[in-house]
Symmetry: C2
Subunit: 307 residues, 2 copies
Amino acid sequence: MSFDILQKKIIEKRNPTIAGLDARVEYVPPHILKESIARYGETLQAGAEAIYTFNCGLIDALCDVVPAVKPQSAYYENLGWRGMELLERTIQYAKSKGLYVVADIKRGDIGTTATAYSEAWLGRSVVGSTALPVFDADCVTLNGYMGADAIRPFLKDCERYDKCVIVLVRTSNQSAVELQDKLCGEKHIYEVMGELTQDWAGDSVGAYGYSRIGAVTGATYPEQIKTLRAQLPHTFFLVPGYGAQGGTAEDVQYAFDARGCGAIVNSSRGIMCAWQKTGKDGLDYQEAARAAAIAMREDICRFVNFA
Amino acid sequence: MSFDILQKKIIEKRNPTIAGLDARVEYVPPHILKESIARYGETLQAGAEAIYTFNCGLIDALCDVVPAVKPQSAYYENLGWRGMELLERTIQYAKSKGLYVVADIKRGDIGTTATAYSEAWLGRSVVGSTALPVFDADCVTLNGYMGADAIRPFLKDCERYDKCVIVLVRTSNQSAVELQDKLCGEKHIYEVMGELTQDWAGDSVGAYGYSRIGAVTGATYPEQIKTLRAQLPHTFFLVPGYGAQGGTAEDVQYAFDARGCGAIVNSSRGIMCAWQKTGKDGLDYQEAARAAAIAMREDICRFVNFA
């Protein structure tokens, strides 16, 4: 029906944070990369295998702390098909450890093209008479610039396989203002997008009051989160921008409802690259990531009370 | 500097059209798919190999007629990493036949994520001390909803490797109106996006007067193409929506400048699936695609005069 699966995991772990798996080759601890290059040379395969080892180590270290992970497709496409194969394996491994997987793909295309994306990321692809899962994430991020045509084709697979989508509404980056903050009559473009998101979702909501279509609302603009939370009571929020981009726990608190539900806050480099700050050359990358994830949980939970 | 490479190919072939390579498994002629399934079973690999055979056949049949092809990433992701591997091979094959390749990926993300996409699609990925080409297309489509942060990181690779990008401005689909046609003061959102596109490109233009950042302007809204052509004199246009979506040669003529330059018109299913209308079960898919591409060229060139 909705974001219930994710919300339950958040409450179980009392942790509304999602760990990004945005593995650039240079984020991989040197000992892992070195071993992979020794084996495969300086190739895309070496990059992919190193990142897979790193990802699995991170997932092992985080899976009892965080409810969800968010691999960013760019970092996998960056290594070509070998990166995509590594992404398939990463998603499967994360799911096997009980984590909810949001594939951060920000796709936005229409009609049969949107259907093809939906089959790839949430549904099944058909060859002959066989329907085959492909990346099979639990949720994807989407871009709604092209309107409903870019979102609706995903809703069929959402219904069929109990999945969700999250649409970019107000992003956390500096140049978001160039388009998203322009006024359309009385409303900012991001508010127009927020309302469209709600319209596309229709009336059906899950046990926690949220529909199947969430929204990205950046942590760096707390006033806007507050406005959007009030305008979109049934829209689950994915909140990027905490930490590295300057968003604080105080800022993100407005994304949550009174019961502490309705939002999840992302951290990518803050957790993944925590090893770069401990002076141990990444040998402690698992402990460092786990400690960073726990610190983030404690920080955010100062402002979020699970009823 | 710009779209010169593509514009030259267009003029050489006297054909401002680009053939989509949007191969869903069901678009593959039955004899090709059957053979692939006989070999690999009903698997993603069978789908990928069938599409690769189909794509190569199309490229062979079209490479002296059209200047460019446009693979749509959705249809390759649809088959997982095997589809992405097929996409890498397809891009290489098309380039080996002298075709300009626009990867229709419509990505839109920021900062290091945008850099990762740019490396993947236009530039090089670095493993150890080796810079490796990945998908290595000539041009990609992008989504500018997040502002300059989503576009600028690509411009470095554009400079370094003489590549281009094309940003969604006014798309050809029905629900484009939901956001793109809303008014911001005196201007529609698509006009605001068009102006941003021009700003991001800066002042440098190539021999034909066009910058490195193009715009998608749908054929289904000729009045808007006319407006945008006047507003954006240095922006190269990619025009989808001809044929299947209802755009005609008369509609698309406004995308071109007085010398017949500055635009390219897409057709995907009209060419790729032409075999479905000849009653020969796809055995003639190459002849059918070639005939459709020539008919499209003749149709559009009724209104476009190359100076």
